[in-house]
Symmetry: C2
Subunit: 250 residues, 2 copies
């Protein structure tokens, strides 16, 4: 992500600079350029950064967009959808792919809270990126827009490294053999407890199989189920002995 | 998106409720549940909602998470990565797919600014969703987290409808024939202006072809180029006549 910088143009609210720094640090970005911010540094930015002060302290303040992007090879500007002359337009996912693809020195440029980027600024960008908002209420908060772009950059970065969020389970998944033993044990218990009539089993076992297979049981869970069935086994055995004794007593 | 609600649990900062409402409306969500918010309604929430007051006014305030999710069929809670007992964990994209797949009544649950959701609350969720932040600085702003989830929900919604951001060009793309005429015209001009030596053309035309093909010219752009070449043609013709006159005068 070292090849990527975030550029904020003429930001009015220092809180948005802080929110940007926080979103950047959350997502592993660290190069922030501020083009003529209204107020910087400021306590509000520091407070809203929620600890991402290193990003704020490292921010480079310049007077013009030109200075912020002159050494970049790929410039992507955020834009509301319709412009007079259409420009190559991508969604945040595509923009993230581009930024990572060739490791070009890349700037993501974000405009003013109220008016975005000017046409002249937008024309300095190779691509425009549009966060697909509802047309009748399309203007995102500046920090929220940075968050979405930074999130897509990180998703793509992790995907490239083969890392994904997804289950990291603490216990190995049960093997088919372990699963089948468990299911056989369940069936014996169901018959012994007279829940299941072996002469008219209907779809009961199929439904149990479907349920437990869907849950993709781990080995500990299989062990827990078998423990429970064994406890029932004991009850059944006790009841059988009891009933034998009662018969004998009669 | 009518089947999806956003649930905020014990929110401390009214600004985050406003930011949530704005992000929701931007992305086409409209059902907000607030579980025992510290302060609501509030001027700060209204101000930060930036016009999404309808979302705030329609928000349903309840006392417990249970009330907010009891009529839901799928509950997805936001979570930092590591928990004592791992739970089925998905990324925001997968969570958005789930929420749309079967149109189940779905809740996305967001915890407190400082401590997230409790273990008990997390165990009420069918899935946990993790926004893949940097481990050493992993806590997103609440409004920013809602923005990311709402963005993915909208991306998936639009993809299902076959709608994508991407180029909507104002002029039809040029045909191969139009393009080839333009390129032939360019070559004549280059020869006439003596930029190109027809006896030693090297790779000049190949490079021009590659450049213009890469740009995927539209019909108006082809027309502009040909107009420019015609203007050069006239200069060349004038220069030829001039030179003929000069020869004659000698």
């Amino acid at each position: 992500m070292k090849n990527i910088r975030i550029v904020l143009v003429n930001t009015s609210h220092p809180g948005n600079i802080g929110a940007t720094a926080r979103a950047m640090k959350n997502m592993g970005l660290d190069q922030l350029y501020l083009v003529a911010p209204k107020l910087f540094p400021s306590d509000e930015a520091t407070s809203r950064s929620s600890g991402a002060v290193d990003i704020l302290e490292g921010a480079i303040v310049v007077n013009s967009l030109e200075e912020a992007i002159s050494d970049c090879q790929l410039v992507i500007g955020t834009s509301a959808r319709e412009r007079h002359i259409p420009w190559p337009l991508v969604d945040p996912k595509q923009a993230a792919e581009m930024a990572h693809a060739e490791q070009l020195a890349t700037a993501f440029v974000f405009g003013r809270e109220d008016r975005g980027l000017t046409n002249e600024e937008l024309q300095r960008c190779h691509y425009h990126v549009h966060i697909p908002s509802v047309e009748s209420f399309s203007s995102l908060n500046l920090g929220a827009a940075v968050q979405v772009i930074a999130y897509e950059l990180r998703m793509h970065f992790l995907a490239q490294k083969g890392q994904t969020v997804t289950k990291k389970w603490d216990v190995p998944v049960a093997s088919v053999e372990q699963f089948e033993y468990m299911l056989e044990h369940l069936e014996r218990v169901l018959v012994d407890t007279e829940f299941l009539d072996p002469n008219a089993p209907r779809q009961v076992m199929t439904r149990f199989r479907r349920l437990y297979q869907r849950a993709q049981l781990d080995q500990q869970e299989v062990g827990m189920l078998r423990g429970m069935f064994s406890a029932v086994d004991k009850l059944v055995a006790g009841a059988t002995i009891e009933s034998a004794i009662q018969k004998k007593d009669r």
